[in-house]
Amino acid sequence: MKDSPIVFGLYVPPHPHPLLAPEKNEGWGKLRQAFDTARKRIEESDADIILIYSTTWPSVIGHQIQARSNPEWVHVDDDFHYLGSMPYKFEMDSDFSHQYHENCGKRGLNSRTIDYDGFPIDTGSVVALSLLNPDNRLPACIVSSNVYANRAESIVLGKAARDTLEQQGKKAIVVVVSSLSNRMFTDYIKPEDDRIHSAKDQEWNQKIMQFFQEGRLEDLSQLSREIHNQIRVQKVVAYKPIWWMAATMGQNNNYQGEVLAYASLHGSGGAVIQLTPTTGSIGDKEFDEDDIEFYTGDRHVLDNG
């Protein structure tokens, strides 16, 4: 895939255990090794930028795009503060962030760039960048997940990211920070007792990973609403990361997939998965949702009834 602006995509978990405590549980250690493998592959690639969509960065005023050149702080997770602090100093591609923001506007989406000292970069982004890009070898860009956004906004947000890559002639590692099943245990557990919260979550995670392994990204995108209903805690309106990932990488099933590791993180499904664009395809099996190029806002159906 010489012409694709996407080198490969990664789907990685948001919780800090692989960064802060990989030695405490075999699964957490395997996730850490998978992060390390992905880091090496990024280093060996010809990518210009790491582009992150994080489910642990919620926003309200449209989508927010991190544009501060060198954000620096010591981050502590709200729940897992006892695992330790996460000092960070990252490097963002501000040019990319500003143009991404402009391209969102061109596709009808409200967005804004963020450039403030002390802005709290979310746990998922801190974990991903610390492990995948520890020396800031590549500049990054992080985009938030709007709490009210649904499919149309998320797809268009992905397309605006791809527009920007094409305009700037940059090759990206696309990173989605999200659990598979995201239900955690609501009590403390010993690290050795960690497991996937339920048999149902486990089965669905395996099904999703099978799709990933077969390179069926757009099929997963088409099945997103079902996945949300089955195994996502109803914190937000939809399971959005897979929509953004497909729209950014290309809405098709032409990928080579590899699950580098899968393990529970306090009950949630954590997986490090790589998807690389290829020419072969398994075919389009699950397509029934419409595609969308521009976001035209709420349709005010109640007002017009």
Binding site: W57, P58, S59, V60, I61, G62, V74, H75, V76, D78, D79, H81, Y82, G84, S85, N110, I114, Y116, D117, G118, F119, P120, D122, N146, Y148, R183, M184, F185, T186, D187, Y188, V233, Q234, K235, H266
Partner: protein
């Protein structure tokens, strides 16, 4: 014996701190949201007349999924930046925690069978909800605070489960306070209806653009405020699941339920200090004064 001298519903849109321009906050504004800010100023004046030792704040913006967490270190100094409105709120804080009372509330909740934890990481940042509410009711910051995290039972189970858990937590905190020698003010930090506009006007404090998200949310907010005025908090708490689901209310945190239970479910009128919408959300400032001699009809 300890005592709860007042309980305040103190919403935390960062806009009110931004509009007030305190020296701790980096951005500058031309004002805005006076109905809320003047209400807060009046409430702050009233609290100054009360004799109390500490402020206990239940905050929706320290969100925990594994139990309820309490702060276990005496002092925090840093900058709190609102992840949603960083353009409005970048607040340099330097605050003290009443760790003794924090620990005893933690113990009481644990003894009652709840999942709890003390947060003892010195790098932890205090959330903007805690800071906005604490600043607006006590801009001098001359009392220690005790923030309590919001366990997201509404997300994981249902608003009904949240209501029950928050009541249990309220009972435990009440027990710990009464068994202490502290006089405390409780703060329930949140809006009522909580649907936001997803666009912000160019000048955030342009008051010609501020209104409630929809009429349904307004009617629900007024229904709750009316019940507060009548002293029917039992009914408010019973309505909580329906209200929260209908208006995507920030009561999903369990904060108001916690406070009402800790105060023994007031059957006397609340003092109402103001109602105003902020970027679509509905916000009321209210206070429950258990002392009939000092209780006022404010608005």
């Amino acid at each position: 014996m300890g005592e709860i001298v007042a309980g305040c519903l103190a919403p935390h849109p960062p806009h009110v701190v931004y509009a007030d321009n305190p020296e701790q906050n980096e951005p500058n504004s031309e004002g805005g949201w006076e109905t809320l800010r003047w209400g807060y100023a009046k409430l702050a004046r009233k609290l100054k007349t009360l004799d109390y030792d500490a402020i206990v704040i239940f905050t929706p913006h320290w969100q925990t999924y594994v139990g309820t967490h309490f702060l276990g270190l005496p002092h925090f100094k840093s900058k709190s930046v609102d992840p949603v409105f960083p353009n409005l709120f970048r607040f340099n804080y330097d605050l003290n925690i009443d760790v003794e009372l924090s620990k005893s509330m933690h113990e009481a909740a644990k003894d009652a069978g709840m999942v709890t934890m003390m947060m003892e990481n010195p790098d932890f940042r205090i959330d903007y909800g805690t800071i906005v509410s604490a600043h607006m009711i006590n801009p001098e910051w001359n009392k220690p605070i005790i923030p309590i995290s919001s366990n997201r039972n509404s997300h994981y189970y249902s608003v009904e489960v949240m209501n029950e858990q928050a009541r249990a937590l309220g009972k435990a905190c009440r027990k710990a306070i009464l068994e202490s020698d502290k006089r405390v003010v409780l703060i329930s930090s949140h809006s009522l209806s909580h649907r936001h506009f997803t666009v912000e006007s160019e000048l955030p404090e342009d008051m010609s653009k501020q209104h409630i998200y929809n009429h349904s949310n307004y009617v629900w907010d007024m229904k709750l405020i009316d019940l507060m005025r009548q002293g029917k908090m039992d009914e408010v708490i019973n309505l909580m699941p329906e209200f929260t689901e209908q208006t995507i209310a920030e009561t999903d945190s369990g904060s108001l339920t916690w406070m009402m239970e800790a105060m023994g479910m007031p059957d006397y009128p609340a003092e109402i200090y103001g109602y105003q919408s902020v970027i679509g959300t509905g916000n009321v400032i209210a206070s429950w004064d258990p002392n009939p001699d000092t209780r006022e009809v404010v608005l």
